[in-house]
């Protein structure tokens, strides 16, 4: 008998005495608190900051000079660019552009200084940005290997209040990466240290239309 049949058989015998399955109560809240879109964006900024991400704000075309400045301040010489990133975002940046390609090796990614991505959405209550590999986000590894990640969030249309709202909008068949602050560990005497294996610096740009 295969392992599969053995395990399924054991499960069925184990449950021979079991009663009906319980209903799942869904009376938990969809959001925690009632906020205006501006207040939601402020909460996102506050929670991102608390987890040691750096938050910037820009409106409309001001995103280009802001990104150019952030890359320059970092001293970046090269920047990873995922397919579908709005071209005008990096119009003012003079770093060497590296395209996100399926055949680039981890060593090549490790040699890149910074990466700029968009996101699928951001969650205010938890200070989380979610990437789903859609346009402007690239493969999962590009927001992982370079040490400096700049993520642009469109406000208010990409910001949701809560985890349940986010889950309802996401497509689980896409590769999903949820990011809440930069890489961190508390494994040594519970002292929080930012930056272990992921990017040690996470900068989030909250971009409004005007």
């Amino acid at each position: 008998m295969s392992g599969r049949e053995q395990i399924l058989g054991r499960i069925r015998r184990a449950l021979a005495d079991a009663g009906p399955a319980p209903e799942i109560p869904r009376d938990y809240l969809r959001t925690h608190g009632d906020r205006t879109p501006d207040a939601t964006a402020d909460l996102l900024a506050a929670h991102l900051t608390e987890y040691r991400a750096t938050v910037h704000r820009a409106a409309g075309d001001a995103v280009a000079p802001l990104l150019a400045r952030l890359l320059a301040e970092r001293g970046a010489r090269s920047v990873l660019v995922p397919a579908g990133l709005p071209p005008h975002w990096l119009a003012a940046a003079d770093q060497v552009r590296i395209d996100d390609r399926s055949d680039s090796t981890p060593y090549e990614l490790d040699a890149v200084d910074s990466v700029v991505t968009g996101c699928a959405l951001a969650i205010a209550e938890t200070g989380t940005i979610v990437l789903d590999g859609g346009p402007g986000q690239g493969r999962r590894r590009i927001s992982l290997v370079p040490d400096h990640h700049i993520c642009v969030v469109r406000v208010p249309d990409q910001v949701v209040d809560s985890v349940p709202q986010a889950v309802a909008l996401l497509d689980p068949t896409r590769p999903l990466t949820w990011i809440s602050g930069p890489s961190a560990t508390s494994d040594i005497e519970l002292d929080r240290v930012e930056g272990v294996h992921g990017p040690r610096t996470l900068e989030v740009v909250l971009l409004t239309a005007q």
Binding site: I11, G133, R139, L144, A168, T173, S180, T185, G198
Partner: protein, 506 residues
């Protein structure tokens, strides 16, 4: 190479901890270790206070807890159906599903998969399931080096040590000890620690970053666990903080995930509950820094490919279906491994994780290990007693496992024997050795309580002989008096006192 103990292929499982002394003996050693106790006390108190604040932020915590409990109970009730659905979804998304009845079979499957790639090293992201099966030792026996990549797991592995906490496996080590381990051992595994390494956590984390980056960038095969598996979509979910999980899950060409069958949930929507309760219960954060979700090989291949080009899921039983067969004990399978119960447990705080002799320490380990491995060994028979039944573990559990209820249930089984399921077969076990004296005492008590005359006579005899009271009991009672003072015998039985003082009144 690791000190996590374990088994070779074909050996019976021992949850990674062979031949360990029973809990009372191990705990006695631990409570004498002042450094260990201080480390544990500071860590558990810090994290439990933070957790309470994180939980208090959510006004609907009790509703989320009830939902999490119900999702898990519902899944367990139809576990066969959801596993078949999961298998179909993973397969449709380009993955391959394997079923492992026990540790030996899981290790054999993983070893064969690694050997088939032609590689001789793997990177691993925190997987308690593979610690449970002793995978690292099995791989080593096949000539494959397995590198743990979680910082705490690295500390444990380099230190030839064993994990002592679910979330913070090196909680028993302080920074000075970690510095010494890194300085002495990193060079034997790869990139050595920088010269003059200090004991600042920042410096130590940087040394780990450099040491492990070398391995991440060249690794072709990774082994992971998973926090959740979604039946309807085949989506796998890993919660982590450092990015070592993302490195393992996205850079290598082949990914092998070994996951206990109880980790499945029915729908993607169900994750909205655990994404709120797990981080707050474990690291006391609103959200852990990184969560990765992937479904097979993803929606497309070729130019769009994202992540490994081969994905294997090994579904592990290893005692879980036996646990499912126990009406009271099956609730332990709800566990989402948050570790909140460890941090509030007065026994864990003093004894430390090693005393539990299993990869699953603390209150949850005290009910999970004896069910996964049975109660035949001395350590497993002692685990249901490693508790004061204070109930704090139940209060904090985000899936409302009534740990005290299961502890009492398992104590009864150890002391009295009874029907259990082992390896899928219904058997009746005998009372564990060492509990015969307890049963004899209970039988004697019943006799005395059923015969008031005999009790009265016995009490009077005892009162008269009270000066002869020994400090320690002989025979099987000695273990009890090893750690306790024998209470003094009163000069007069209570019932005589009552009859004399109050007996005449109405």
């Amino acid at each position: 190479m690791t000190g996590t103990g374990g088994t070779g292929p074909g050996a019976p499982t021992d949850l990674g901890m062979p031949g360990f002394p029973p809990f009372p003996a191990a705990a006695r050693e631990a409570v004498r270790d002042d450094t260990l106790r201080a480390n544990l006390r500071r860590a558990t108190h810090t994290i439990r206070d933070k957790r309470a604040r994180a939980v208090a932020e959510l006004a609907d915590w009790e509703q989320l807890r009830a939902a999490g409990k119900a999702v898990k109970d519902h899944t367990l009730r139809h576990l066969d159906r959801y596993l078949i659905q999961l298998e179909a979804a993973v397969t449709a998304a380009g993955g391959t599903v394997h079923w492992a009845v026990d540790a030996a079979e899981a290790n054999r499957i993983v070893t064969d998969l690694v050997l088939a790639t032609g590689e001789r090293e793997v990177v691993k992201v925190k997987s308690m399931a593979t610690q449970e099966t002793g995978l690292n030792e099995a791989l080593e026996a096949a000539g494959i080096a397995a590198y743990e990549t979680d910082l705490a797991e690295l500390i444990v592995q380099l230190g030839h040590d064993r994990p002592s906490h679910i979330l913070v496996p090196a909680i028993h080590r302080n920074r000075g000890e970690i510095r010494d381990v890194f300085a002495a051992e990193m060079g034997r595994w790869g990139r050595p620690a920088p010269g003059g390494l200090g004991d600042d956590p920042r410096e130590l984390a940087e040394a780990a970053r450099l040491h492990l980056r070398e391995k991440f960038l060249r690794a072709k095969v990774a082994v992971s666990g998973a926090n959740f598996m979604v039946a309807e979509t085949g989506t796998m979910v890993v919660f982590e903080s450092e990015g070592n999980g993302r490195m393992c899950l996205t850079l290598p060409e082949t990914l092998i995930s070994v996951v206990g069958i109880e980790k499945v949930v029915p729908t993607f929507r169900d994750l909205e509950v655990f994404l709120q309760t797990l981080p707050r219960s474990s690291t006391a954060e609103r959200m852990n820094p990184y969560t990765t979700m992937w479904t097979g090989l993803g929606p497309s291949q070729g130019a769009e490919s994202d992540g490994p080009t081969a994905f294997h899921l090994v579904l592990l039983d290893n005692g879980r279906t036996d646990t499912l067969a126990d009406e009271v004990g099956r609730q332990a399978l709800r566990c989402i491994r948050c570790s909140a119960c460890l941090n509030v447990c007065p026994v864990y705080e003093r004894a430390g994780g090693h005393a539990y002799g299993s990869v699953y320490p603390g209150p949850i380990g005290a009910i999970l290990s004896p069910q996964l491995r049975g109660t035949a060994s001395e350590i497993d028979a002692s685990l249901p007693y490693a508790s004061t039944l204070c109930g704090a573990c139940y209060e904090v559990c985000p899936v409302a496992i009534d740990i005290p209820e299961v502890l009492v249930h398992l104590r009864e089984r150890v002391a009295q024997g009874g029907p259990v399921t082992r390896e899928g077969i219904r058997v009746r076990i005998r009372p564990a050795r060492g509990h015969t004296a307890e049963r004899a005492a209970m039988r004697a008590a019943r006799l005395l309580l059923d015969h008031p005359g005999a009790l009265r006579a016995g009490e009077r005899l005892l009162a008269r002989a009270r000066r002869l009271r020994p400090r320690r009991l002989p025979g099987p009672g000695r273990a009890w008096t090893d750690s306790r003072e024998l209470p003094p015998v009163p000069a007069e039985p209570f019932r005589d006192w009552w009859a004399r003082e109050r007996g005449g009144r109405a």
